[in-house]
């Protein structure tokens, strides 16, 4: 009897200790994930109107307004609507998908703005289940504008249906809010910790490029300044070339080997050079881009297929080729063909299925970044 009482008390103590231990862990996790960004962010930013790459009608004003509200709540000083409009009229800014050096300088000197937030809406569908994909980036102002942060997300209402469909999101607004929260959280995290998003979770092997050429000229230890040119769009999807550029910028920045040039600056220089590319980048064009932007590598390519789907039935399809031309050798140092469908490698209960072209392309491009950086 004495023995059994001792045994019981010991078990009770162990259970109590275990409970305390796990509750401490749980609290620690809670603290870690819910660290609120302090109110002293005091980063003066301008939020550009949302660039619509979806090719459809989308609530762009609402998205921008919601982003401004989210950022203001987190302590950002956002340039007022009226002032931004005046500035844009004064400098005749019509292109909102990038920031050129003149505009960046003017933002700093005239408005005291430290960064410009550019958001591109890639896909928007209200058909049940809703889908949304967007990319945002923060560009520094002043003499040498650079990408301070870039992130994005592609979500579908049925990404995580859960048991009996409790995880389904049927309201497009709720899905959009979730996407914007994810993006703004990422921005805050990066600015507060001054740390990049990192390489993130590894991309699945099925998204590796299918045909690959990697030249020995590419040095894994070297840091390359990269200019990502718009991809030639041979698909039926409008703006697929521009969408691929954003994916490449986002994914290449994850690796320490690449310093990516802001596409707004690249666009400005290409317009200045009056570069017309018929069927890819010629070496003469490449030389001009290398010398003006002091880039080491040009990324270019062709989009053959870029399909999303609306509603319940369908699957995304993405097919593109990539070419990297290096400055020193004036040669193609990387060539690859990537193609995937949303249900590749899916056999049971839709496990592993990808519902948006955005989510699939992110992983496909991440593989290219990893292989170019020789991190396989």
């Amino acid at each position: 009897m004495i023995l059994s009482t001792n045994y019981l008390s010991k078990a009770l103590v162990l259970i109590l200790l275990g409970f305390l231990f796990f509750s401490t862990l749980a609290n620690a996790k809670e603290i870690k994930t819910e660290t609120p960004p302090s109110g002293d962010t005091r980063f003066r930013i301008a939020v550009f109107p949302v660039e619509n790459l979806s090719g459809t009608v989308a609530p762009l004003k609402e998205i921008r307004q919601a982003l401004i509200e989210m950022l203001s709540k987190r302590g950002f000083q956002v340039l007022g609507e009226e002032n931004l409009e005046k500035f844009m009229v004064k400098h005749r800014i019509r292109y909102v998908g990038g920031l050129d050096s003149g505009t960046a300088r003017a933002f700093k000197e005239e408005m005291g703005i430290e960064g410009v937030l550019i958001t591109s809406l890639e896909f928007y569908s209200e058909t049940d289940p809703p889908k949304v994909a967007l990319t945002s980036r923060l560009i520094s102002t002043g003499e040498a504008p650079s990408i301070l942060w870039i992130d994005g997300i592609g979500l579908a209402g049925d990404d995580s249906p859960g048991i009996l469909g409790v995880g389904l999101i049927e309201d497009p607004k709720a899905l959009l809010e979730k996407a914007m929260k994810s993006v703004t959280d990422s921005l805050i995290r990066t600015l507060l910790t001054r740390r990049d998003e990192g390489k993130g979770r590894g991309a699945k092997r099925k998204f590796r490029p299918k045909v690959v050429y990697r030249s020995p000229e590419l040095e894994p230890e070297r840091k390359y300044v990269v200019a990502v040119l718009p991809f030639f769009n041979r698909s039926e999807r409008k703006y697929a070339g521009e969408i691929l550029v954003l994916h490449f910028i986002r994914q290449l920045r994850r690796f320490n080997n690449f310093d990516v040039i802001e596409p707004g600056i690249l666009r400005q220089e290409l317009l200045g050079l009056r570069v017309i590319m018929e069927d890819g980048v010629s070496l003469a064009n490449a030389d001009a881009i290398f010398s003006i932007l002091d880039a080491d590598v040009i990324v270019s390519g062709k989009v053959i297929d870029y399909q999303d789907y609306q509603g319940l039935w369908g699957k995304p399809k993405v097919d593109f080729s990539t070419v990297l031309i290096e400055r020193k050798s004036r040669e193609v140092v990387w060539g690859s063909n990537s193609y995937n469908e949303g249900d590749d490698g899916v056999f049971f209960f839709d496990r592993g299925r990808v519902n948006t072209a955005y989510a699939m392309t992110s992983q496909m491009v991440r593989w290219i970044g990893a292989w170019v950086a020789k991190e396989r």
Partner: protein, 182 residues
């Protein structure tokens, strides 16, 4: 009777080849090539671009020859004023070789690409033929063709739709590259 029998047996032993290789050509001297835009006999012209991209990357990955970027080839075509870049003449080939400094140019035709049907069965098929023109002489030094996919006995019996288009494209391109380096 014996003569007839021997003729039949000898013709049965003969093989036909879809590959031509110039016996006087030194293929080792070819270091850089230009892959011209492929002609497409299919309904979708984008297919030819896709197959060309796959071929260029596969060719580069062999490490044996270097293929110029497509933009540089386009610049050369424009400067050489080639009317039909999918089928340049010998003179045009020589002129282009001098401008973009390549030892050979490769042209191609995508003859068939997509789904074929037979009764209730369907499968994907690709048929592709290539030729290489030496830029010093303007002569054709190599031609080959490859057809992959199509309806197999398995497809007829059990269905299934054959292999994905991308897979058979890679197979056809690999087959042609093997024929080139044979």
């Amino acid at each position: 009777m014996l003569v007839y029998a021997s003729v039949i047996l000898l013709t049965a032993c003969a093989t036909t080849s879809d590959t031509y290789i110039d016996p006087n050509m030194d293929f080792g001297a070819i270091k850089t090539v230009a892959v011209m835009p492929f002609a497409s006999l299919t309904r979708d012209p984008v297919i030819a671009e896709r197959v060309r991209d796959v071929f260029i990357n596969k060719l580069l990955s062999t490490g044996a020859v270097y293929a110029l970027p497509t933009g540089e080839v386009a610049r050369g075509v424009s400067r050489a004023e080639i009317q039909n870049p999918t089928a340049p003449s010998g003179e045009e080939g020589i002129k282009l070789g001098g401008i973009i400094k390549v030892q050979a140019i490769i042209t191609g035709v995508v003859r068939e690409y997509g789904e074929v049907r037979s009764g209730t069965t369907s499968a994907n098929i690709i048929s592709l033929s290539l030729q290489m023109i030496e830029t010093q002489t303007g002569k054709i030094v190599w031609t080959a063709s490859s057809t992959k996919g199509g309806i197999s006995l398995w497809d007829r019996l059990f269905g299934g739709g054959g292999q994905p288009m991308n897979k058979i494209t890679e197979k056809a391109v690999n087959d042609l590259i093997n024929k080139l380096f044979k």
